[in-house]
Subunit: 251 residues, 6 copies
């Protein structure tokens, strides 16, 4: 089976850089995968991609080494399974608040006996290789987001779920849930403390930890802090940066 | 934030007219938005629109004042959140039967602390303005349908849910559930009584009341009866009216 | 091969009614085909349909007896051939002004030795039957539009082209080209005279004559005048009629 | 209402042959429907079809007698209802493990008073006829898959659910869940015994029994064994067979 | 009719800034139009947009003041007319080399008696207003590219064509045709001289002059040189800039 | 630049096998590219692919060594250039009958000074490498079809056009044009003689020769006869083969 580059990076103790894909556009995904990111995450929650766009985007990045992940819209087994069948090498599930929710998700990503993922991957073996069925459980990533006060309270039980690979932090939702600002690149004392608590809980349980950032410097800082997986920027952020050029030409 | 014209109409004590969009077609939506309706509702339950079509339709009506609403396929948080992220100014949830179901839905439409809507609206701020995050909770509409015997029995508890803006009646399902005919523009005594009961429950709780109609005269009557929001016709109904012309030319 | 209902109607001396499809939307096409029109014309010139939409629309109307025609964007052989390959039972070519242009088009619609249409119909035999190759030349319709002053001057030479089935009048372009108003349902003396001249030229040459109308009464009048094929209304016209309902509810 | 050919075949005591559609491609569906299969099943779980593709595929097969079924991605009412609204003549629900899950699904496929399917079929009446509302409950098929150890244990209670038409076996998931190989065309003793147990439970409860096969000979054998509905091959399997030709030309 | 902001900018003697859209993606177009560019150009020659994407992109930018132009793939009347019908406020035609080619194109963009554009704009009046037919000829822009040695030789005859609004320079093709490098932001002596010759020819004939740039500083310089319309950057260029961030994180 | 495997095969004196892609479906293309064909040809003339499908299909095959070619719908420069910009490694132009037509096409496939292909490849360098501009002219294939009586008469002049890589025979059109049957795998004496004449003309002029076949045995025979490039089967042919299975189960 095609190796999961993220697992290899982690094996050497390094942190992985990730580019977020909000636009749901196959050619943009292809352009960005050719920029050499360790991984891209196709966002099906707040991003524009539905299943058809996911499939096209996964095909478009297949000629590169960039690992494709999918963030599903909600914790439902069908979404996780369909993303994996299409060839995603990992799934991020938003807003997990309890151990039960975490298990429900992680087991959807694993074939029996480790889970209840249904057999029948259509495209995944083309991308991954003909030994997909036997290797998938140990290659693909199951990632949950802890991003609410309730999730924070249960973070240790969540982190303890067998088969979970990473806890990924959504700082906007976390901030809002804690009564602070909804934004990336948090510096608020309360939110920073919560981020550190999640990071430690993940590490203590032997899981990887990831976080969404928008500013590359902040992202570097999070790597230094011990995060294994850091979203550095996004397709939408690259387009947004064009506004600076526009402003320079404004009459 | 761009004003929600429906709230303004209601503030002056008037009823709003709505055109239903079943076809899931962006240009048809644009044509109809230019006809001057107070709102359009993109139907993702019985209509053809999925998320991709919803996005295209929302973009297509953005240059008009017509308020775009979405009727989601079922009471699941991801559908409500994705419709709002795409720029819908309100969501209609079908078949709500209990207070818990109503709360589950309404809170999905509101950011914390009023609810648990996830932060990260991609297109909505383009349509609504850069103050979207702070204004969304009081601008966007959360609407539930009461359309079964069970929902009818619980209508007062449903109407009492904080943050609910409107109860919208689906007369076909309501009729069928009550053992009468499944049709719009109900005149059946039993169904009419149920409709009046829902209307009164909504008003008593300080909520708006809406109803789906197919005949403009019936719609006018519902406005007279006190409904604040009346679906008058639909894109599919306009096409269906073409059958009369076809019949005239039938050989 | 599935019969071409238009040829059968004409064989009995009757005129055919046609509904124009501008929206390029498969389900709308299906709805309208079920209304019982003799034919529908998928407009690829001023309408929204490209090749993908054409294919979807042709599939959508296949379960009805309504004959599907396509109006291509310009007089180029590839467009005509691709529309026929997809299962159109006739092609309307806009703005033909000379005998040479007419021949160029008509021969693109016919297999050798009558023309130079390339062999390889992918979907057409599914719709039409396995004897498609041998029957296509005598079943499918080749139609040209005469709609300019120059076309009018050459109408007799155009009508004389072997294999041409019908001349179809676009009254808006014809009016504008003659220095009058660009509109359907012409009553202007000069344009009416031109329409009559084209009608007569078609008849004299043994061709059918068709015309685009928007008002059913006007369409009836054109049938009485001798036109064999009359566009009565359109999908876009049906939607436009909804504006009357909107106006009634305008505040 | 257009007859459901599967019910007619069963009425005469025969078994039906089914072709699986994994590719989610309308024209391929049309090609295959014209091959004369009793039914096709559009796979929305492991196949590529989403709702938009489902609609296009259902339109594409409408001119044939082949009965279109849909396999939904998961046991959620909205998916079942939307597939039926689009014109599917039956729905297959994956991975049903309890009586409650079975009832939840079967009742989503039926209008009141037999279930809670919401009224408002947009395309179905075009395909099925204008008496759709009154005839749908007895024409459309509700099918569940039993494909796990837990489902196997509960198979009698599942089979007892009123309104259920068929139990359909997914041999790959069943095998894996029982600790054997995940594959079609099972010959493993344990899995074969499980298959027989499901078949008998279905028959005992007066339900039809179906099974997914990939090899036509195996499929024939399953018919002989008493299965009423046998998937013989798939669009993806036909393409896969092309690999044999490729191998012959490999350098 | 909605004003053409480019004509107004030029009326005051200013130069307009333009953002190129290569990706053919509606939401990216909407994001960029909200950045405040004077115009965007949807590229149908080297960019990904076909007619369906063009329509979606034109709808997506309609709520802004940014003027949408389309660059067609080749000098054929159907492409120009379809782009205008969809609501483009101007068309750029690549590679015009003679006066005849220029006239063929410019007249395709104008209604009689100034040209031969066919009447029947479907979406344009929604965007532009109900007086579209009478105002279009003087509002919409007809632009040709001079980008070859032959075009350069004929530039004065091309510039003299009545109704032409602007000559737009493609520096890559021009460079290659002159035996120099194919690149934007030319500094090669031979190409710079050719650019100046085209600029002067345009001005002498009373036409506007435009040029494609990739570097904002170079673009500023071209404005200073007298160009009225300068492409400053592109959606693809914004994404490409993300490569710098990626490189910073490369291991 | 990524090597063109076809040129390498030919360099060693071997013949290449090609699979035709008529369905215009990205995932089917990906499945087939993984079967190991030397090349696939995406058919935009008789097949379903338009530009959007072409782009998706080219992305889908990029992770394999299979060389992607495109057959355009007609001899127009824009189609050839757009296919190459999207990453096709060669273009087949149908129905070339004269030296002028051949030159018009071949030069559209080459950058100056060998032709007039416009510069600005969007996706091609991602697939091919950053040295695309300098290597494209000698890597990409320009192929014409000779398939009519007139083309046959001019075959020597056609073959003599500089830069032409291959003459590809369409036996159906050739047969029909010669007054024989329109079919693949020709055995008719007259058509076979014509095929041989084209083969010899190609060889004499130092061009490669290719032919469309449907039967693998016939294809083998053509390789033995000296053809360098042989279409062996197609995606549509693989689906069609499924009819044999269907027939076996027909009641």
């Amino acid at each position: 089976m095609r190796r999961n580059q993220l697992r290899e990076i982690w094996r050497t103790g390094q942190a992985a850089n990730n580019c977020w894909l909000s636009l749901g556009h196959a050619f943009t995904a292809e352009l960005i995968a050719h920029q050499g990111w360790d991984s891209v995450t196709i966002d099906m929650q707040h991003g524009l991609a539905g299943h058809a766009e996911l499939c096209a985007m996964l095909a478009a990045v297949s000629a590169t080494n960039t690992v494709p992940l999918a963030r599903i819209a909600w914790n439902d087994p069908a979404s996780a399974m369909r993303a994996l069948d299409a060839g995603a090498y990992g799934v991020i599930c938003p807003n997990v608040e309890t151990r039960e929710e975490c298990e429900h998700f992680v087991r959807a990503c694993r074939y029996a006996p480790m889970g209840y993922r249904s057999v029948g991957p259509l495209r995944a073996p083309l991308y991954a290789g003909s030994d997909y069925l036997s290797e998938a459980n140990k290659t693909l990533l199951a990632v949950v987001q802890v991003e609410t006060r309730k999730g924070l309270e249960n973070v240790d039980q969540i982190a303890a779920v067998e088969g979970l690979d990473m806890i990924y932090i959504g700082p906007s939702d976390l901030g809002l849930s804690l009564g602070r600002e909804a934004r990336a690149d948090q510096t608020d004392r309360v939110v920073v403390a919560a981020i550190e608590r999640i990071l430690e809980a993940a590490k203590r349980a032997g899981r990887h930890a990831g976080i969404y950032c928008r500013n590359p410097d902040y992202a570097k800082g999070m790597m230094d802090k011990g995060f294994d997986f850091v979203t550095v920027t996004s397709d939408e952020g690259m387009i947004a940066a064009g506004a600076l050029v526009a402003r320079r030409f404004a009459r």
